[in-house]
């Protein structure tokens, strides 16, 4: 093998090795730069989000408004509790009486009437005894008078019990009117409006400053590094091919190998030759 060819091959191999090393170094540097840029962008986005969230915080006016609404609601609750405490026990009693009536029990509200009925019956008996003598209970007139009294007063009591239910329900309903659960409705609406506005602003601040697209910056840089290392292996393969070709061409053993790189090195005379045998490395 001529000395000029050996020199050319050596220079070519050195050039391939140098180029590969350069590619690796520049690839790694590019990856680091990409990573730094991604980190800077991420940091910048985080700052933007922090600022947006700070701006979305409730203002002093809103906090005062919410505080006032809460105080008002608490006062309304306390007022309702006081009203409930001060409600005439008779109103509550009316409700309980109505419930008893609905359950088919006798209302105690009619106790005075029942008492009066008993008194009037005793008076009737006394009068009948005066009129008819001691055997009035067995006389037809006495029996009829007592039966009529019992039947008629029984009807009065039954009707009264039926009518009383409506009256008692009407009276007990006033308790519900006095203690209205919707007294603080407007207050709660104000509170919900202000709190809802703050929540909406927070959500808008978070969604308006996305951080996710920059979160994978370091992974992209890692991928670039792998790409640079992969390029280095490609260069080494090329270098290996060059050395192998040179060996086949007789540089080391006198044999020849078809190496496409030889063409690029100006050795077109060697391109297409088959490898020899008996070389040093064979």
């Amino acid at each position: 093998m001529p000395a000029a060819t050996s020199i050319a091959l050596g220079v070519g191999a050195a050039a391939v090795a140098g180029g590969t090393a350069g590619k690796v170094v520049s690839g790694m540097k590019a990856a680091s730069a990409q990573e730094r840029a991604a980190q800077m962008q991420l940091a910048e986005r985080r700052k933007e989000r922090e600022l947006a969230l700070q701006l979305a915080e409730p203002t002093t006016t809103e906090l005062l408004s919410m505080d006032k609404a809460i105080q008002f609601a608490e006062a309304a609750n306390a007022r309702n509790a006081r009203v409930l405490d001060s409600v005439d026990p008779a109103l509550i009693e009316a409700g309980e009486q109505a419930l008893e009536l609905m359950q088919g029990k006798e209302a105690t509200v009619l106790e005075p009437i029942r008492g009066e009925r008993q008194r009037q019956r005793q008076e009737l008996r006394a009068r009948l005894a005066d009129q008819l003598g001691p055997g009035f209970e067995t006389s037809s007139a006495g029996i009829r008078a007592l039966n009529e009294f019992d039947n008629q007063t029984s009807m009065v009591l039954n009707n009264a019990q039926m009518n009383m239910l409506g009256s008692l329900l009407h009276t007990s309903a006033q308790t519900r009117q006095v203690v209205s659960p919707f007294q603080g409705a407007s207050t709660f609406a104000t509170l919900a409006d202000v709190a809802g506005g703050v929540s909406r602003r927070r959500v808008a601040a978070a969604t308006g400053t996305p951080v996710a697209p920059y979160a994978g910056g370091s992974e992209l840089a890692k991928a670039s590094r792998y790409q640079a290392i992969g390029g280095a292996f490609g260069g080494l393969t090329q270098l290996g091919g060059l050395i192998g070709g040179a060996a086949a061409g007789g540089m080391f053993s006198g044999g020849g190998a078809p190496v496409s790189n030889l063409g690029s090195l100006g050795r077109t005379d060697l391109v297409g030759q088959t490898g020899g045998s008996g070389g040093m490395l064979a």
Partner: protein, 78 residues
């Protein structure tokens, strides 16, 4: 409003709604006058505009009417 009037009104309300009429009070005209007097002191002369006071008087009148009915039945029987 004097304590006595308050007690009277309370006992009236208890009697009307709970059937526990105090011995000195009854479902008659004198009892009605006492009740109206107590209600006027508590709610003013326009006490009928107050639904609670109005209900109390209505219930008293209803009880008084029932008492009358029973007395009438007894008179008819004798």
């Amino acid at each position: 409003m004097a304590d006595e009037d308050i007690r009277l009104l309370e006992s009236m309300a208890k009697g009307v709604f709970k059937g526990e009429m105090p011995p000195k009070l009854s479902f008659d005209q004198p009892g009605r006058i006492k009740l109206i007097s107590a209600l006027s002191k508590k709610y003013g002369t326009q006490f009928r505009n107050n639904s609670s006071a109005d209900d109390l008087l209505k219930m008293f009148d209803k009880q008084m009417g029932l008492m009358k009915q029973i007395r009438m039945i007894r008179r008819a029987g004798s």
